[in-house]
């Protein structure tokens, strides 16, 4: 059986600055895909993980159980504060009050980027589908357009996750507009 985490890790190696990639995955390979993304270590790269599907701490704990170190990743958690009322967070997690505060996602990404001025930045958005639950497609389109192009102009790489089984035509259209490349795993 093909190990999706190895394949995703391989794709990570191929990412180039100022590019935006859409990663469509099936729910059955969700954590394998995250493992592949976060296992990717490059001391000159700052990985920023925007978590809106699963709380950042759940991802950190799940990765810890399978031996993946996430201490080099900065998480921007959009759901813990809203869903659990969580205020305190681990050092590498920044909480956003609500996934509807899309501007705050951009602001926190910019904050982390500024804190690592000498590193190439990789922004992983997990996922477009869950952000779409909380925001209508017009504001989502505007958000992705501004964020992706802003990051591209600064040489960053963007990886946007979406879940095949939850894919809507609107999300596909949005991703088509802002992605240079689409990679698909699972969900067949």
């Amino acid at each position: 059986m093909i190990d999706v985490s190895v394949q995703v890790a391989g794709e990570m190696q191929k990412l180039e600055p100022s590019t935006s990639t859409s990663l469509e995955i099936g729910t059955e390979v969700y954590f394998d895909a995250i493992k592949g993304m976060l296992n990717h270590r490059n001391k000159n790269m700052q990985i920023i993980y925007v978590a809106s599907t699963v709380p950042a701490e759940a991802i950190i704990n799940a990765m810890k159980m399978i031996g993946v170190d996430t201490s080099h990743v900065r998480f921007i958690d959009c759901i813990s504060s809203m869903m659990t009322g969580q205020h305190g967070s681990p050092e590498n997690v920044i909480l956003i009050e609500s996934p509807t505060m899309l501007e705050n996602i951009m602001l926190k990404v910019e904050f982390v980027r500024r804190k690592s001025p000498d590193k190439t930045v990789l922004v992983i958005v997990d996922s477009i589908n869950t952000l779409h639950i909380h925001n209508d497609w017009k504001i989502m389109g505007e958000f992705l357009h501004i964020m992706v192009n802003g990051l591209r102009s600064r040489g960053a790489m963007i990886l946007m996750l979406s879940i095949n089984e939850q894919q809507t035509q609107e999300v596909s259209t949005l991703l088509g507009l802002v992605s240079d490349k689409t990679i698909r795993y699972g969900g067949d």
């Binding site: 602001l107 500024r114 925001n135 505007e142």
Partner: protein, 258 residues
């Protein structure tokens, strides 16, 4: 003869030809087409909790780091409290204060020096205050000045004429000294203009409006440049975050609505 590239450059945002004072706040400098036109007096206005004091402190701090002396005149807060409450910016250094690059003055010290004892200032007192602030700006060699806030000073002025005199006098004096200033104005939600008395915004060379905007239950801090003489600027509304890396700005998402 200008090259075509130079012509394009001179036609772009903010290239009217005035020398600019870089605020050091990346997003704001971009909105202003390269910074505040030098020697301008800008009204920084907004409700409480919108970030006026933080933004103005950062303006002084960036100036001090790049070698321009700054003067902060506080009417509402003692210096120590102001510093204690300041965002712990990554670029803040205590020695900027010790070396005189940043000077903090409580306006009550100026009032005492001038012998003001009355609750309300006379027109002569207003003139004396302008002269005293000019002397202080010269003494500290301040290229950047913040007055926090003009609204609090205005409580001691019982006519609009006095306030107009104060604003015009300050603006003329500071411009003559080569000082770029931010004059903070406190608004309430009920105010319909950009300042408490309406005079401040008319006299200032520029108006930067800071606000709180509620959208679907979320409260966003916003910034909008309403006017800025001497430069082309964006008039769009931006969302800001006051962080230790400095003030960060991104465009307000409209989601297809007005």
């Amino acid at each position: 003869m200008k090259t075509s590239q130079e012509e394009i450059k001179s036609a772009t945002l903010g290239s009217i030809g005035r020398e600019k004072c870089l605020t050091g706040i990346e997003g704001l400098d971009s909105i202003l087409g390269g910074g505040i036109p030098r020697n301008n007096t800008i009204l920084l206005t907004g409700n409480c909790g919108t970030g006026k004091t933080s933004l103005s402190l950062e303006f002084l701090l960036h100036g001090a780091v790049s070698g321009e002396n700054g003067l902060y005149l506080s009417v509402t807060e003692p210096f120590e409290k102001l510093i204690a409450n300041m965002i712990p910016y990554d670029f803040f250094r205590r020695d900027l204060i010790k070396s005189g690059k940043m000077t903090f003055i409580d306006i009550s010290a100026i009032y005492s020096r001038l012998g003001f004892k009355r609750d309300k200032m006379s027109l002569e007192d207003v003139d004396l205050l302008v002269v005293a602030l000019g002397d202080l700006t010269r003494e500290t060699k301040a290229r950047r000045l913040v007055i926090d806030s003009i609204t609090s000073i205005a409580y001691q002025l019982d006519t609009q004429e006095k306030l107009r005199n104060l604003m015009l006098g300050l603006s003329k004096m500071l411009s003559g000294l080569g000082t770029t200033s931010l004059v903070i104005s406190e608004m309430t939600a009920a105010d319909s203009s950009y300042s408490k008395y309406g005079v401040e915004e008319a006299v200032a060379d520029g108006v930067i409006l800071m606000g709180n905007m509620e959208r679907n239950g979320d409260l966003l801090r916003t910034l909008q440049v309403i006017k800025m003489r001497g430069t082309s600027h964006s008039r769009a509304k931006y969302v800001l975050d006051l962080s230790t890396a400095g003030t960060l700005l991104v465009p307000l998402l409209k989601g297809g609505s007005a």
